[in-house]
């Protein structure tokens, strides 16, 4: 090989598609990069169709490969890293196929702008390039500073060639793409003649669609999918062979004349652009005239400090501020902080609750600016951990806004910076198991019903390893050739990008037109645009984004604060909530946390009584501890034991002890892992950050081993005991991508405390706030209402004579449910009712209908929801009244309000069961006695206990419980276990169903609305679980009662 390397011709591949040319390219950008290295190419141009979405990945891959050890060996033998050229293949509407290559930063900007132009005028995912888009815009011709390869069709026209030669003088080549076709020699001769006739030189190119030949089946499948057919019927649309891969230079030398290969190098040399040249420039308008970003940040920070510390800034704070501002200035991050600050100021002014979190958010500067309420003095965090000189990557501040009002913030951003300079980061949607199976099956010609049956049979918890079993269940033999291919192809397709969509809220704003930095395209939402790079791409090229996120709890909190303010004139601001309230912590310690932010999940509820949080920092830990990372890293139990004093906190080395002191010697936060790597294993902060990224990606890429070795070696050098090293390494691996950053937990913990405090001291306002912000959170309105009533809140039903749209607290302190609880009722209708009622009370249903212009549908809904009871009697009577079509006919005319002459009808009053059925159907909850009270006698006779009775039985007691299934949950962390929540008139029972029983009684588990469970109690630290041994479907007892369960995936 070595010998050949010197005699083989050099080659630069100038026409190569990755799988970001959706349904065309069959290899990931990273795979192409690695293969280009392996083949010893001089350069690789990534030229995805009208897209630059994959270029950063190749750029990154080359960088990583450059560092890796095996290449260093090759390099000593003279091998060089291929250079990345940036380009794009595009086809004009009249069929001219061109490959553009950017020569320099200007050319890159022009190409990016051209892609944007073509994309923005087409619908999502498509593009339109007109020929006149290539008319000369400068004396140097069209698209300055770009080269162009013309890929002629089978019978090319000389006129096209001349047209191109004129527009791209000296910058246009004819691409000769030879793929061992029927007659390559003739094709070459034709193109040579064409070149002579148009005055265009020729160059070799590969039209690469995959990195290796073996991807041919995948490429065929993609082609079939693109044409919406199967590989059997795709016929000649499939490529006749697998030549469209990164071919060996030996093969190329046999196919092409040497001068055509040499020409590739000449072109590559003309393209000097590198993504490293991109420089991000912040918008200018965040700084008023007369100020620099540095002076303005200082100005605003000082103003904030005066507000935070009216009595004078403490020395420690002052010192920290100076340090941070210095660091920010050194890194030129002022504009980023000011951009975030500007958005937060807008939200404040508009009365939208918001809070920052994330790496830089918990700095003292952000505290002073009001981006966050986390007082850095309250926690042990250091700013450097989030903004480091060495890492050279932008700081990260996520800002959460009220979920219902985030659009106002987004509108503000678009308005302030303009559409040309603002876009959302992309999120790359990739194939997941079901989609991959569906598409692979379709391409292999399996019939749709079969495919649907298979994918539908995959429960949300099925693992990949179980796939062959699921196939077998569907009567498909996993060993048969066709089915085996299906499985293999689905596996290949998994992880392939399918399309770009918008990131949840990452905005990119620039000083100049954004389209010259990165192409911008349309999304499914007309008013939104996305750039072609995702969050990781942005990080890699050093572009900054501001995350504008939606958080339901903020909406709820604002409403709760407003209600509290109205009724008792007390705190209306988060910062006015008193700190360190013992009653609040007592409540959390009892796991009485339904509706409280973050700690209301089943897992959190079982952790609370063990952790018994007593202060703010305990909440930070509580939020971070119940995460897949710490659970899989086996950090939870050691932490709890040490916290409860059941296990000694060992001393390792002073440096390590200092890092882990605040978490009892167990690493819980992502930051601690990085910190450990630095102090114990001698990582630089930059390397520690690489470790963090590797942790986040190892499940996908599995390249953690390198860092593990380095960690081991580093710690061993520093005299860390071997046992501790192994534990840490194992924990880091378990941690994986799920490690939770302390910087986010710190902000979340504030909201945990605030919502818990309100629940404890203002339960009625708490309920109203949650109900009025639905849908959000873990629990249904029904569960929230029951919980509030058990906490002494009196709740009154929705009623047209008393309710508004929202739930509110009435004069007597009771919660009057809003008309919004009525399923299907429109908001405007409810608002009309509330307004008209203020003018004059409604005399009867006819009066209500006439004055509020209610139609038949609305009246039916109100009657069915029993909201007319004050005007028309029980719901049947009301339904009878509103259903009269005779009266509606004259509605609105002279006779409006005149009662129609009709004999009164006496309908039987509904029974309790009837009312319950109707309540659940129309409202989703009922204020009447719980359905299980009706069955209690029946249940007691069969020795079923209530949730309340259960609490009095001891650990290990054998019991039976029956209840309505209100939740089924299967956390990814608990292998195969399903958690079921049963509800009865006294509360909830937590049932644990182990995998063996899940498989055995799948039907009862998944379908019974009323479930009886025989099992054994597990009670410790105030946490009670029932471990199921047998499930019985008692639904027949319910009769017509309908209930709904929420499955949490």
């Amino acid at each position: 090989m070595l010998h050949q390397a010197h005699t083989l011709p050099d080659y630069a591949e100038l026409h190569c598609l990755s799988n970001f040319s959706f349904l065309r390219g069959a290899s990931h950008p990273e795979e192409l990069a690695a293969q280009a290295v392996a083949q010893g190419y001089a350069a690789l141009a990534l030229t995805d169709e009208c897209s630059l979405a994959g270029v950063v990945r190749v750029h990154q891959a080359f960088r990583a490969l450059e560092k890796s050890a095996d290449l260093t060996v090759d390099r000593e033998n003279g091998a060089k890293m291929p250079r990345l050229l940036i380009g794009s293949e595009m086809r004009t509407v009249d069929g001219l196929k061109l490959v553009f290559l950017a020569q320099n930063r200007e050319g890159y900007g022009n190409l990016s702008a051209l892609i944007t132009l073509a994309r923005r005028r087409a619908e999502k995912g498509a593009y339109t390039l007109q020929r006149h888009d290539l008319n000369a815009i400068s004396p140097n011709g069209a698209l300055p500073d770009c080269l162009v390869l013309w890929v002629p069709e089978a019978t090319p026209s000389v006129a096209d060639g001349r047209w191109l030669a004129e527009r791209f003088p000296g910058r246009c080549w004819i691409a000769v793409e030879l793929h061992a076709g029927p007659d390559d020699a003739a094709r070459l001769a034709d193109l040579q003649a064409l070149g002579a006739a148009c005055g265009l030189p020729l160059v070799a190119a590969g039209d690469v669609h995959m990195h290796v030949r073996a991807r041919r089946p995948v490429q065929d499948v993609l082609t079939a999918l693109r044409l919406k057919t199967s590989v059997f019927d795709a016929g000649h649309a499939l490529f006749p062979n697998g030549e469209r891969h990164l071919r060996s230079r030996l093969r190329l030398a046999r196919l092409y004349p040497p001068e055509l290969l040499a020409e590739t190098l000449r072109i590559a040399e003309k393209c000097t652009f590198s993504l490293d040249e991109l420089r991000y420039e912040y918008p200018e308008e965040i700084v008023p005239a007369g100020h620099t970003p540095t002076s303005w940040l200082r100005h605003e920070t000082e103003a904030g400090l005066r507000r935070r510390y009216p009595a004078g800034v403490p020395d420690a704070v002052r010192e920290r501020i100076e340090h941070e501002l210095r660091l920010i200035a050194e890194l030129s991050y002022e504009a980023y902080f000011l951009t975030v600050y500007d958005i937060v100021c807008f939200a404040r002014g508009a009365g939208i609750l918001c809070q920052g979190r994330g790496s830089a958010a918990n700095s003292t500067v952000c505290f002073a600016l009001g981006v966050t309420e986390v007082d850095p003095a309250r926690s042990a965090m250091l700013f450097e951990r989030f903004v480091s000189k060495e890492r050279g990557e932008p700081p990260d501040i996520d800002v959460d806004f009220e979920h219902e009002r985030r659009d106002e913030v987004i509108a503000y951003i678009y308005e302030k910076y303009g559409r040309e300079r603002t876009a959302l980061a992309a999120a790359v949607i990739t194939y997941r198991t079901k989609g991959a199976l569906r598409d692979a099956g379709r391409a292999l010609g399996f019939d749709i019903a079969r495919i649907d049956a298979l994918t539908a049979s995959l429960a949300w918890w099925d693992k990949r390893e179980q796939m062959p079993e699921r196939f077998a269940e569907q009567g498909l033999d996993p060993a048969s050739p066709r089915v085996a291919k299906w499985l293999w192809l689905a596996e290949q397709l998994r992880g392939f990008p399918r399309h770009l969509t918008q990131h949840v809220g990452g905005f990119v704003m620039s000083r100049g037109p954004l389209a010259r930095l990165v192409p911008v395209e349309n999304t499914a939402m007309a008013e939104r645009t996305v750039i072609q790079w995702d969050k990781d791409d942005l990080d890699a090229v050093g572009l900054m984004k501001v995350d504008v996120l939606a958080l339901g709890m903020l909406s709820a909190l604002r409403r709760m604060l407003a209600i509290i303010g109205e009724s008792c004139g007390r705190p209306q601001n988060l910062s006015e909530i008193p700190e360190g309230d013992a009653a609040t912590y007592d409540m959390l310690g009892r796991a009485d946390s339904m509706g409280v932010f973050q700690v209301e999940s089943r897992a959190q509820m079982s952790m609370l009584p063990r952790l018994k949080p007593r202060n703010y920092y305990d909440l930070v830990i509580e939020v971070s501890l119940v995460r897949p990372g710490p659970i899989q890293g086996d950090m939870v139990h050691p932490y709890l034991k040490r916290r409860q004093g059941k296990e000694r906190i060992e001393q390792i080395t002073p440096a390590i002890d200092a890092v882990l002191a605040r978490t009892c010697g167990v690493p819980i936060f992502q930051e601690q892992v990085m910190q450990l790597a630095i102090v114990a294993a001698g990582f630089t902060p930059g390397e520690a950050d690489e470790l963090r990224r590797a942790m986040a990606a190892w499940r996908r890429k599995g390249n953690l081993a390198r860092y593990q070795d380095k960690l081991r070696a580093g710690m061993a050098r520093n005299g860390v005991p071997a046992a501790f090293i192994e534990r840490i390494v194992a924990q880091i691996q378990g941690f994986g991508e799920y490690g939770f950053p302390e910087s986010h937990a710190a902000s979340f913990a504030l909201l945990v405390y605030a919502s818990a405090w309100i629940k404890r001291h203002h339960p009625a306002a708490f309920l109203c706030g949650l109900l009025n912000s639905q849908p959000m959170g873990f629990y249904s309105p029904s569960m929230l209402i029951q919980d509030a009533r058990r906490h002494g809140v009196s709740v009154l039903p929705a009623d047209v004579t008393a309710s508004d749209w929202d739930s509110r607290i009435d004069e007597g302190g009771a919660v009057r449910l809003g008309l919004r609880e009525i399923k299907g009722l429109r908001r405007e209708i409810a608002l009309n009712i509330a307004v008209d009622r203020q003018i004059r009370p409604f005399s009867d249903v006819a009066d209500l209908a006439a004055r509020c212009a209610l139609g038949r549908r609305e009246l039916d809904l109100l009657a069915a929801a029993d909201a007319l009871r004050s005007l028309a009697g029980h719901r049947r009577q009301a339904a009878w009244q509103v259903a009269d079509s005779g009266r509606r006919a004259v509605q609105g005319d002279l006779f409006a309000g005149l009662p129609a002459p009709e004999a009164a009808v006496e309908l039987a009053a509904p029974t309790l069961a009837d009312n319950l059925v109707a309540d659940y159907r129309q409202l989703g909850h009922s204020l009447r006695p719980h359905p299980l009270t009706l069955l209690r006698e029946h249940l007691a006779a069969r020795r079923f206990l209530s949730a309340g009775e259960l609490a009095q039985r001891g650990d290990r007691a054998l019991v039976r419980v029956a209840g309505i299934v209100t939740g089924r949950q299967r956390p990814g962390t608990a292998t195969g276990i399903v958690f079921v929540t049963l509800e009865d008139e006294t509360g909830w029972t937590n049932v644990v169903v182990k995998p063996a029983l899940v498989e055995k009684q799948r039907r009862e588990l998944l379908s019974a609305p009323l479930l009886g469970v025989y099992g054994q109690l597990q009670a410790s630290d105030g946490v009670v679980h029932l471990v199921a041994q047998r499930l019985v479907d008692l639904s027949a007892w319910l009769g017509r009662l309908e209930t709904s369960s929420r499955d949490f995936h």
């Binding site: 030949r213 019927d233 049956a453 049979s457 699921r470 069915a864 009269d884 079509s885 009808v905 799948r1002």
Partner: protein, 436 residues
């Protein structure tokens, strides 16, 4: 469980096979059953999608009472593999509703019917969901509760339809049914004006039936091969007289001649009250449209020619060769049903411009390889650069499939000037075709 999503059903019963519902087939099945039930009563009505109304009041004597008819009908259904819900009532709608509710009983008087109807849930009549929901909202769960309400008030709330339905079901409004027209099968019957005790006496009455049959066969362009004359005796029993025609026919005269022969040998077991005639086996009239070979139909072209060739040589002997879009030479043409060549659009011409021999060998023939390359009647001289074909992974490993090919094809010339199409793959050199 109705109302489940497919995914839920599969979650509950992994391995469940789902089939699409086919309303057209259901309608055909119902019509067939209607035809069949003509043997019990001439008055049958369809009540789609799954109901059948048999007017049996008139023929109760014929079968010896309602129970006997019901038993016969149910038995017949069972034999045909249908499970039925049924009821007998004085009104068609009443019977339908009771059947749907699974009554499986006879209500001979109006009073009995009304009492039974009062107890039915309001969901039984197939009223629009909106009406059912409304009745539920009123708390009116059973039809009896519904009829207890003032009709005027009800009409203003749920419309006239349901209220009129109720009146029809109770026999308070007339409810004429549209009779089923027996379209596809001939089954006709008639009651004799007086009992007939001698077989020969039946001929006169039967003549009317055979006349009708002849007319019907004419309409159907068919000939009768086997028919049955059913004799219904005054004791309710019946006997069948099978009629077989060696040469199928449609001629009334021949029918009657055959009938007379049969009747002359027939000993009646009991006096006959009614006759019915069924056409059991038909054949299409061969000279349906035109005389065979006597005159060529205008525009008769290749299709008819192929038809006749196939008729004489057998279907499999006449095939067409069609281009098939597949890169693999073995799969690039297909022997096809020639009927298809007129229906389908012309095959793709994508192979144009590629060197492809007209005749491929049935299987590639291995070639000897020497130092100077492949040999076939001497050394072969390669004329073109290799054309690489790699395709067909999708059927590899399957029975009698070509599978994944990976070959480099060449046009080559023998010493004698013969042009050959050869390829090389992992196994070596092969001859695959010869150019003419």
């Amino acid at each position: 469980m109705p109302g489940h999503k497919l995914s839920t059903a599969l979650g509950l019963l992994p391995g469940l096979r789902a089939c699409e519902r086919d309303p057209a087939r259901e309608a055909r099945a119902l019509a067939d059953l209607a035809c069949w039930s003509g043997r019990f009563t001439p008055t049958v009505s369809l009540a789609p999608p799954a109901g059948l109304l048999l007017e049996i009041g008139g023929c109760r004597r014929l079968f010896g009472g309602i129970e006997a008819i019901v038993a016969a009908v149910l038995d017949g259904c069972r034999i045909q593999g249908w499970s039925v819900d049924w009821a007998v009532a004085p009104t068609p709608l009443g019977a339908r509703w009771l059947a749907r509710a699974g009554a499986a009983a006879c209500y001979e008087s109006l009073a009995a019917l009304q009492a039974a109807l009062a107890d039915l849930p309001c969901a039984v009549p197939d009223w629009p969901a909106e009406v059912v929901a409304r009745l539920d909202a009123f708390g009116l769960r059973r039809l009896g509760e519904l009829s207890a309400q003032p009709a005027g008030g009800l009409r203003r709330r749920i419309g006239n339809g349901p209220v009129d339905d109720l009146l029809r079901a109770c026999g308070e409004l007339p409810d004429p049914q549209r009779a089923f027209v027996f379209p596809e099968r001939f089954a006709a019957g008639l009651e004799l004006p007086s009992r007939v005790e001698f077989a020969e006496g039946l001929a006169f009455a039967a003549q009317r039936l055979f006349a009708a049959l002849a007319g019907w066969l004419q309409v159907r362009q068919s000939l009768l091969r086997v028919g049955t004359l059913q004799l219904t005796h005054d004791d309710g029993s019946s006997s069948a007289l099978p009629l077989r025609f060696g040469e199928p026919c449609a001629d009334e005269g021949r029918f009657m001649r055959l009938l007379r022969e049969h009747l002359s040998r027939l000993q009646l077991v009991a006096p006959v009250e009614a006759l019915s005639l069924m056409a059991d086996e038909l054949v299409a009239r061969p000279d349906a449209s035109a005389g065979l070979f006597e005159q060529a139909v205008q525009g008769e072209g290749a299709a008819a020619c192929i038809e006749r060739l196939r008729a004489r040589l057998g279907d499999d002997a006449v095939r067409s060769l069609a281009l098939h879009a597949d890169h693999r030479p073995e799969c690039a043409s297909r022997s096809d049903d020639p009927a298809g060549i007129f229906a389908a659009k012309t095959a793709s011409t994508a192979t144009f411009g590629k060197p492809r021999p007209l005749w491929l060998l049935p299987a590639p023939q291995p070639l000897a390889e020497r130092v100077d390359g492949p040999h076939w009647h001497g050394p072969l001289q390669l004329v073109t650069r290799g054309e690489r074909l790699e395709s067909g992974w999708w059927d590899s490993g399957e029975q009698s499939a070509v599978g994944d090919l990976r070959r480099d094809y060449f046009v080559a010339r023998t010493g004698e000037g013969q042009w050959a199409w050869i390829f090389r793959d992992a196994q070596g050199w092969f001859l695959h075709g010869l150019f003419a």
